[in-house]
Symmetry: C2
C-alpha cells in the first residue's frame, strides 16, 4: 500500500468522522433539540460542512490521488475501488466554484424558510423568486459538475445522489410505467374490495412496544441502534449506531408500522455494510436509489406480502387487542389499497411512480431551461391531470408539497422509483432462490431474507458500480418488468397491464 | 476593528461551533447512545478535537494576534478583553508539543479504561503503571505550559481550568479550612438531630414531573434547554441549548432534587452569558471555580436555605404525597446532615472541602515529584485519617474513587472548594443587598436571586480576570470568611470555629 493511499485513507476517515458527527447533530435536531437551539445548531452544521469541504478540496489531495493512482497496482481490489470512489468524491467536491457553493447554501437556507411559510399559506408566488434563484444556482452547479464529470448537466446532478444513473436510462425505465400504470390504477380501483380502518385510538406507548418487539425480528440490533420519534420518520446515525425514527399516529397504527418497516430497510443496509471498510468511501452505500430499494424491499415487497401481513396481524392483535381491522384478510386489503391522491408521501405503490415521473419531467425541464419557475404550478397541475387524473385542490397540496427543490435537491426524485424497480427485481430473484420465503415471513422470521439482501447488496457497499451491483445481485440489468409483474399479481391487474403492453410495445 | 481581529473572531467562532458539536456528542453519549456506538463516537470526538487543535495552532494565528495587538487601541473594551482571551487560549494551545498532546491523549484513554476495571476490583496495582505514565506526561505538560505562561508548573495546570488562580492563593484560602473544619465537624456531629429518610419508593416519572415543575421557577428556560437522565448528573450543551441531566433514585427523591439544583446553577451561568459575545472567548464562563460557585450558590447556599426548603417541602408533598420526611423541619435536618464518609461526591458541605484538600495536597506533590504514584494509596489513607478521622475500607472507596487523575485532570480539584468559598461570599453579599431574599425563596420565587447572580457574575463572562470578577461582584477579594461564617450559622458550630480561629490566627 502506497504512502499516498494511506494518507488519503486517513483524510477520508476524518471526513467520515465529521459525517458521523453531523448525523448525530441532525438526529438530535429532529428528535430532542429545543427550538431555541436552532441558530447555534445551524452554525455548528455549517462549520462542520465547511471543514469537510476544506479537507477534501485541500491542495494536497489532487497530487496524493495522482501518486496513489500510479501505484494502484500495489493495491488490492477493494483498495482500488476505494481509490476510484475517493477520486469520484474529490472530483465532485472540486468541480464546483466555492463561491457558488456558498451562494447556493445561503439561497437554499432562505428558500427553505420561505417554503415553509408559502406551503402554510398555499402561496406559490411567495416562494417563486427564491426558488428561481435556487434553480439558477443549481443549473450553474450542474454545468460545472457536468464539465468535470463529463456528463450532461442533469445527469451530473443525479450523480450527486445515485452515481451511475442517467436520464437516458431513467427514460427507458419510466416509459412503460407512464403508459401502463394509469390503466392499472383504473383497474385496481374498480376491483378493490372495501377495507375496515382500525378502530383506535391506540396509545403511542403500546405502538412503541409493538415496534420494539418487531425490530429484532427484522434483525435490527439495539446494541447498535435506537428507535425514537420525530415529525418525519427517518434513518440516521452511522452503521454501528443507527438512529431510526418514526411517528406514531394514535388513529392509524398500521401506517406507523409501515414507516418502521421502511426505515428499517434503510437501517439494515447501513448495518450490513462491511465493517472492515467503515469510514472509507468504498464502504458506503452505493447511492440513494439502492438505499431506497432496501427500504422498499422491506416495506413494500416483504412487509406487505400476505405472508408477512399474517404475522403482523398476530403482532397487532397481541399488542393492541382484537380489532377486526387487524384480521389477516382485512390487513391485506388495507395495505394493498390504491387511491388517487395529491400527496406523494401518502401515495401507494401503484400511484407513487406517477408522482415521481411528474417531478422528474419538471425538474429536467427546469435544468434544461425549458420551463420557468413561474410556470411550475400550471405545469404541475396539468401533469397531475394527465398522469393521475386529478387536480390538486391547492398549491399546498400541489407544487408546494415537497421540500426537495427549495433545498436545491434536483436529481433526487427519480431515485425513489428507480429504487422501487430495483426492490421488485431483487425480491423476484430472492423468491426464486428462497422457495421457503413465505413460510418464514408468515412466522415473522426475516433473517434469511435480510441475509440474502446483505449478501447480494449490503456487503458490496460501493465496491461495484450501480449497474454492476444490480446485475450481480439479480442476474440482469435493471428493468421495469419485475415491478410490473409484481403489481400485476398483487393488485390483480395483470390483464390491464398486459393489454396496454401489447398495444404499446 | 482591524482585519486581523475580524479574522481571529471568525476562527474562534468556528472553534466554538466545534465545541458546541462536541457538547452534543458528549450529551448523546451519556444519555442515549447504544453501547455499540462507543468506538465510532470516540473517533468522532478525537477528530473534532484534532480539528480544533489545528484551527488554533495554525501558523497564521500568531501573526494575526500580533497584528490585532498593534491595532488594539481601535478595539472597544470588550473586544480588547476578547483579544486578551484569544491570546491566552492560543498560548496554552501552542505551548505544548503536539507529540506530547497525542501521547497524553492515548495514555489517558488507556488509563481511564484500566481505572474502571481497577476501581471495580479495588486493585490499585492494576492502575499504578498507567497512572504513572499519565502523571509523567502531565508533569511534562506542566513544564511546557509553565514556560509559555510564566507560571510555576502546578499553577500552569490550574490555569487550564481556572485562569488567575494559583497555588499560593489556594494555600491561603485552604489553611483555615484545614484547621477549623475538623473541629466544626466534631461539633456538628455531636449536636445534629436525627432526620427521617423518605419512605419511598417514589417512581421516577413523578420525580421527573417535580423537577420539570421546579426548573422554570429557577428561571430555567425550556425553549433553550432540556432535562434528561444519565448515570452521572451533568450540565452540557451550549448557552442557547442547555442539556441538563440528573439521576432519579426511587428511594431518595431529595438527593435527586439537590442534583437538579446543582446542575441548574451551572445551567443558569451558561444561559446568562452575554448573547452578543456567544462563540467568542470573552463570552465564555470565567473558569471552573466560578462555574462551581454558581452551582453551589443554587444547591448549597440558596437551595438548602430553610426558606427555600420550606418551599421544596410543599413541592415534594404536592408531587410525591405526604411523607413525614418532607415536613419542613425534617427536610432541613435531612439537607443539613453531616457525615464523615469516604466518598467525595456523596460528601456534605462541611466535609467536602477536606476531601478536596487531600487531593490538592497529593496532586501538588505528584507534580512536584515529591510523591510517587506507588505511594498514593498510603498517602491517601493517611490524609483521610488526619483530615476526616476515617480510613477508607478499601481503595475502591479510597484513592480509586475519582476519574480525574486517570484522565490527566490535575489542577481541577481545588476549583470545587474555591467555588464553594466564592458561592458563600457571593451569597453573603446578595443577602445584604436583597433583604427580602428569604421571603422570595420561601415562596419559590428565585428570579431576583438569579437576576443578582446574572448581573454580578454571568453577564461579565470573561471580561474581567478571576480576581477582578470576585472583587467587583462581592466588594472584596476572595477569602474563606463568608464560607466559615455560613457554616458556623447553618450548622450551629460558630463556637467551635471561633475557638479554633482564636487559637490559630
Amino acid at each position: 500500500m502506497s504512502g499516498a493511499y494511506r494518507l488519503l485513507a486517513e483524510r477520508f476517515a476524518r471526513l467520515a468522522d465529521l459525517e458521523g458527527a453531523l448525523a448525530v447533530l441532525a438526529w438530535d435536531q429532529a428528535v430532542w433539540m429545543p427550538k431555541g437551539g436552532a441558530e447555534a445548531r445551524g452554525r455548528q452544521i455549517a462549520t462542520l460542512r465547511r471543514l469537510q469541504h476544506e479537507l477534501i478540496t485541500a491542495p494536497e489531495v489532487g497530487p496524493l490521488l495522482d501518486d496513489a493512482r500510479t501505484l494502484a497496482s500495489e493495491l488490492d481490489p477493494w483498495q482500488q475501488a476505494n481509490l476510484r470512489e475517493m477520486e469520484r468524491l474529490w472530483r465532485m467536491a472540486t468541480a464546483v466554484d466555492p463561491a457558488l457553493v456558498e451562494r447556493a447554501a445561503e439561497a437554499t437556507t432562505r428558500a427553505e424558510l420561505v417554503w415553509r411559510e408559502a406551503r402554510e399559506k398555499s402561496d406559490f408566488a411567495l416562494l417563486a423568486p427564491h426558488l428561481a434563484v435556487v434553480v439558477d444556482l443549481e443549473r450553474e452547479r450542474a454545468r460545472q459538475l457536468a464539465a468535470a464529470l463529463d456528463l450532461a448537466p442533469y445527469d451530473a446532478l443525479i450523480a450527486l445522489y445515485q452515481p451511475g444513473l442517467r436520464a437516458e436510462a431513467i427514460d427507458r425505465l419510466f416509459a412503460p410505467l407512464e403508459r401502463q400504470l394509469p390503466h392499472a390504477i383504473d383497474d385496481a380501483l374498480a376491483r378493490q374490495p372495501p377495507a375496515l380502518r382500525p378502530n383506535g385510538p391506540y396509545p403511542k406507548e403500546r405502538q412503541r412496544a409493538l415496534a420494539l418487539d418487531l425490530l429484532p425480528r427484522l434483525t435490527f440490533d439495539f446494541d447498535h441502534g435506537r428507535l425514537d420519534e420525530s415529525a418525519h420518520p427517518f434513518c440516521g446515525g452511522t452503521p454501528t449506531d443507527i438512529r431510526l425514527t418514526t411517528r406514531f399516529d394514535e388513529g392509524d397504527p398500521v401506517s406507523g408500522l409501515m414507516a418502521v418497516l421502511h426505515e428499517t430497510g434503510h437501517a439494515l443496509y447501513e448495518a450490513g455494510l462491511p465493517r472492515a471498510w467503515l469510514g472509507q468511501p468504498v464502504g458506503e452505500a452505493r447511492g440513494i436509489a439502492v438505499h431506497e430499494s432496501q427500504s422498499l424491499a422491506l416495506e413494500m415487497q416483504l412487509g406487505r406480502s400476505p405472508a408477512f401481513l399474517s404475522f403482523l396481524s398476530r403482532l397487532l392483535r397481541q399488542h393492541l387487542g382484537d380489532d377486526p381491522a387487524f384480521a389477516p384478510d382485512n390487513l391485506v386489503r388495507l395495505c394493498h389499497r390504491v387511491e388517487r391522491g395529491a400527496i406523494r408521501v401518502e401515495a401507494d405503490e401503484l400511484t407513487y411512480p406517477l408522482h415521481v415521473i411528474l417531478r422528474y419531467r419538471l425538474e429536467k425541464a427546469l435544468i434544461a431551461g425549458e420551463l420557468a419557475v413561474d410556470d411550475l404550478p400550471a405545469a404541475w397541475n396539468e401533469g397531475m391531470k394527465e398522469l393521475l387524473a386529478i387536480v390538486p385542490p391547492d398549491d399546498r397540496r400541489g407544487v408546494l408539497q415537497d421540500i426537495h427543490w427549495p433545498l436545491g435537491a434536483i436529481g433526487y426524485f427519480p431515485c425513489y422509483t428507480v429504487g422501487a424497480l430495483l426492490a421488485a427485481q431483487l425480491t423476484a430473484r430472492m423468491r426464486r432462490e428462497l422457495p421457503d420465503l413465505d413460510r418464514a415471513l408468515a412466522a415473522g422470521e426475516c433473517g434469511v431474507a435480510v441475509g440474502w439482501l446483505r449478501e447480494r447488496v449490503h456487503a458490496w457497499a460501493s465496491f461495484c458500480t450501480f449497474e454492476e451491483l444490480v446485475t450481480r445481485a439479480t442476474g440482469a440489468p435493471l428493468s421495469p418488468h419485475a415491478f410490473l409483474s409484481h403489481i400485476g399479481e398483487r393488485y390483480g391487474v395483470r390483464r390491464a397491464l398486459g393489454e396496454v403492453a401489447a398495444c404499446t410495445m
